[in-house]
Subunit: 311 residues, 4 copies
């Protein structure tokens, strides 16, 4: 009735797909990685499935932007919901300003005096934000209509970027809509407000919901891939509430925990009680650092995943 | 140079203020509670200090709304930044629909079939959302101007509530502005969109930023009390970026962790590198469940805090 | 069928018992604190219940030793299982060497050069260990029989201490047996080995198990209070395995999480599958910092807990 | 002065070594995996380095035993310190009793009635412990001298196992000493006590410390690889305290957190203040599920790690 645990075997020249195959006989986090990879493969192979990707956290500064942008290019993401921070840092990289590998063991007051901003062990010079301001005020805002939706704003930014690894550019090129419900909670929001000071300009918070709901209605089936929780997780889950449907597949990569009751750490089962995830949906949460598990799952899902024999 | 640890003494009929005084000689989380309480008292006693309160998580369903609403009534909160979820659940309680104490050890598919939604160990009947819809579509949206800011929307909701324990009502009465940057990421957002289907209606995401920035400019000093992280934490911290000022006091209650690099778990020191928290600001993070620590700190701060002699 | 959530009311001059009563209508961690307190009260009122107290973590350096020693004096603990570290630090305090309140934001190499050892934000001079050595080699080991059990070693140490707040002294005075399965994994173990270099001396790891199992057999009912996990948790839980009994009450205060599969973070329900905790036992885990929750629960349990009316 | 973050590129047929090379330009957990792998490679290439491996948690039930046993066979582990639980479960597998892949979403009382024990999502029939009892009482204890050290007990068990994937057998074959300071805190301890009921038998808790300290003295350099914390971590770290040396390399894989002050979550820097880890030692902690990160690091360290070009 229950399968035996099959201990993973480490071999030389092991591929990521083999590692994840090896995980399939294991328990705890290892077993969950294997399940996540299996669900991701199924989600991608299901041509009727609309794939939503929720990107929270500071994944771009950590070096994860090409994982996301290449999944967009590969047609593996149909709808992206993210945070203002990930957009800001994607644009910063895209206009040629690299994040720096620093350290978290540091005197932050000294950093401040050196005009270096810190995101855990990532550093970025404060001056980047002047460059960002110049680009946004010069290239983006003046070319926008007086009233835009957030989805249109993201699209307009992507359209103006040239970096082939930019998430926003790839999303624009692939016609993947990008939603960012709390865009004003970011430097882009502050810059939009600055622009509004001397120009007639509004961002209608509700204007892109029709498009999202239309997408949900049209989808035969739906899958969700949540990197972290936050607004992207909730926004994706609630998008189904206005349709008679629910998610058929769901993967969550997080370090948050259920016991504090917040949505970010909530189990995917909790979402079943709301009818957001379906009764028979396949779902898994991997409680581990997403900068490790996201590349691992994406790399493994790329390959057929010939099973390594373990005994 | 370093004070000795003073072991806490538990006595009979101990007051919360005495307990927290006892914590002041302790280390780890206990010591941080004492520091948080001290900073909160200082923040409140500093009549030039504008107090920002960031309320993330699902604090209202957990039974924390009166802690927040009574702090507003007491004049201890000047600006509230919160999530759509906390607003939705505050309104649900305020229109007479109580959350229920359930359990997290449950079959969520069965719950779904019984039309019960779950938030960890809190249950709420799905039918509540019909009542909420009726109230919002009947009482609130038709009485709003065609274009509102999110702050105005929150205020309009509070104005129409009668429950003296409602956060939104108390905020309206006390003229405390409520900001909610991702309001569309909530049932209120979905309802606003529904209303917009047959009415001319927009929520301008940028419209309330001027008011927030004016508040920041006018403040001589500023303090931040973060319950959880998320959008409220970031929005409060970034509000100072457009002024030459920074926060003088900051308290964070969270279970999130720094190592994943997300803003919710970031240390308050990290915010110093950005100039959001001042070089000489007093700050502390308590890594513990906020449903325990928030009432503890608020209750202790209410009293003079006569120090319990420990030896 | 389900009770409504009753929001907690913070009042002036609030007692800890009132705070915990207020938590009883709440959910998440707050609700669990109320349940823990209720179970603790029941455990203590049940005169047939043998109370096991598992003390892991670095609770003594953090200032928690009087909470434990006063519970021993009050007759609220019948059997103590702890770590070598808690014993070492209890002795250090008891021979007059106070731990110091330091900071975790520090250069550890500099500390090392200043001969200061760090336990998170607690400092202790390296010299303390010379004093400890002198005391153990002079007062304790020479007065022991050639072969001792760990329980006897703990007792012999307690017998020789004079500090009325020492856990080991109070346990000795109250005839509460102290078990410490991994005693060699501590400075006391290293000192015992040093003594053994020039003396015939053995610590029999199995010698005190009979006494523990006898205690378990004689108990009509049993309760467990786990502060942290580790060896104390497992040792207490397994003690019942050789009897036909199981625990009737269990409380766990921890920040560890279940998903990694380790015993420290395992739910108390998991222990039911092993028959360690009974089918109808009352149990609760509070996921929060134990330096905050232990004093809170102990202080509240001391009082009758007149319920604060909330509405 | 600071290197730019290099975003990781996922390619087809990616090897684990390439994935970890890709992580080397990233931050947060991904960057730490790359550092851990680099330190592990250096530790193994340093022929004067004695490698200590601390194995806590329930790694064997999760399917990790072959990762450890094959590292022992490969000569990559010189000293193993582990918990009673890992030994018990290694023996259970080795005598032909497979752990089963179950689920953590389960009614533990039902499991108990079905005589199934649970370790998170691993199941094992209660009957296994009768088989284990039979084997230990029949094959192991009667063949031991009257007084053994724990190291000798582990060795005697390994000698009698035939499973080529058993950690204890591989350690015996490779003459790798296995220490298990809290062995009585496990079913093996309970079984030893049962045996002692009718036989003269003692386990001297101090008897193997000389051997450990000799190993430390003889080592020119030392490295530590900690999977989880607990007793193995502390025992390994303290082993250096009686020598003038310290660890030159240290890797820790854990989900525990520093803020609670316990040793399991303590940073490796904290150990520098004690002189356990050297001033110039290379060290890293990866905060992520060890059932994922241990195989990842071991697999990557096996290969040369040709760097994937990222831009």
């Amino acid at each position: 009735m229950f399968d035996p645990i099959r201990a993973i075997d480490i071999v030389e020249e092991m591929s990521v797909a083999d590692l994840v195959s090896g995980f399939s006989g294991c328990a705890f986090g290892a077993g969950r990685i294997a399940t996540a990879c299996e669900i991701y493969r199924e989600m991608l192979e299901d041509s009727d499935c609309l794939v939503f990707f929720g990107l929270a956290g500071a994944m771009v500064p950590a070096g994860m932007r090409k994982v996301v942008s290449s999944e967009i290019k590969a047609g593996n993401i149909d709808v992206l919901v993210t945070t203002g921070a990930n957009i800001v840092h994607d644009v910063i990289e895209a206009i040629g300003l690299p994040h720096l590998k620093g350290t978290e063991v540091v005197d932050d007051v000294k950093l401040y005096k050196s005009k270096i901003n810190r995101i855990y062990d990532v550093f970025l010079p404060e001056s980047y934000f002047s460059n960002l301001e110049e680009w946004l005020q010069g290239e983006v805002f003046p070319n926008l209509p007086q009233a835009v939706s957030i989805r249109e704003l993201c699209s307009a930014i992507g359209e103006r970027l040239e970096d082939p690894h930019s998430i926003l550019k790839c999303a624009f090129d692939a016609e993947v809509p990008v939603f960012c419900p709390a865009v004003q909670d970011s430097i882009i929001g502050l810059q939009a407000w600055l622009y509004k000071q001397s120009n007639s300009f509004t961002i209608d918070a509700l204007a892109d919901m029709q498009e999202l709901i239309d997408l949900c209605y049209e989808a035969k089936r739906a899958g969700a891939f949540f990197v972290g929780g936050g607004v992207p997780k909730n926004f994706i889950l609630q998008s189904m509430l206005l349709t008679p449907k629910d998610f058929d597949y769901a993967i969550q990569l997080t370090m948050d925990r259920p016991e504090t009751g917040g949505l970010s750490g909530a189990t995917l089962d909790e979402a079943r009680s709301w009818g957001k995830i379906g009764e028979n949906a396949k779902s898994v949460t991997v409680y581990s650092d997403a900068t490790i598990t996201l590349p691992l799952i994406v790399a493994a899902a790329k390959d057929g995943g010939k099973r390594v024999p373990t005994s």
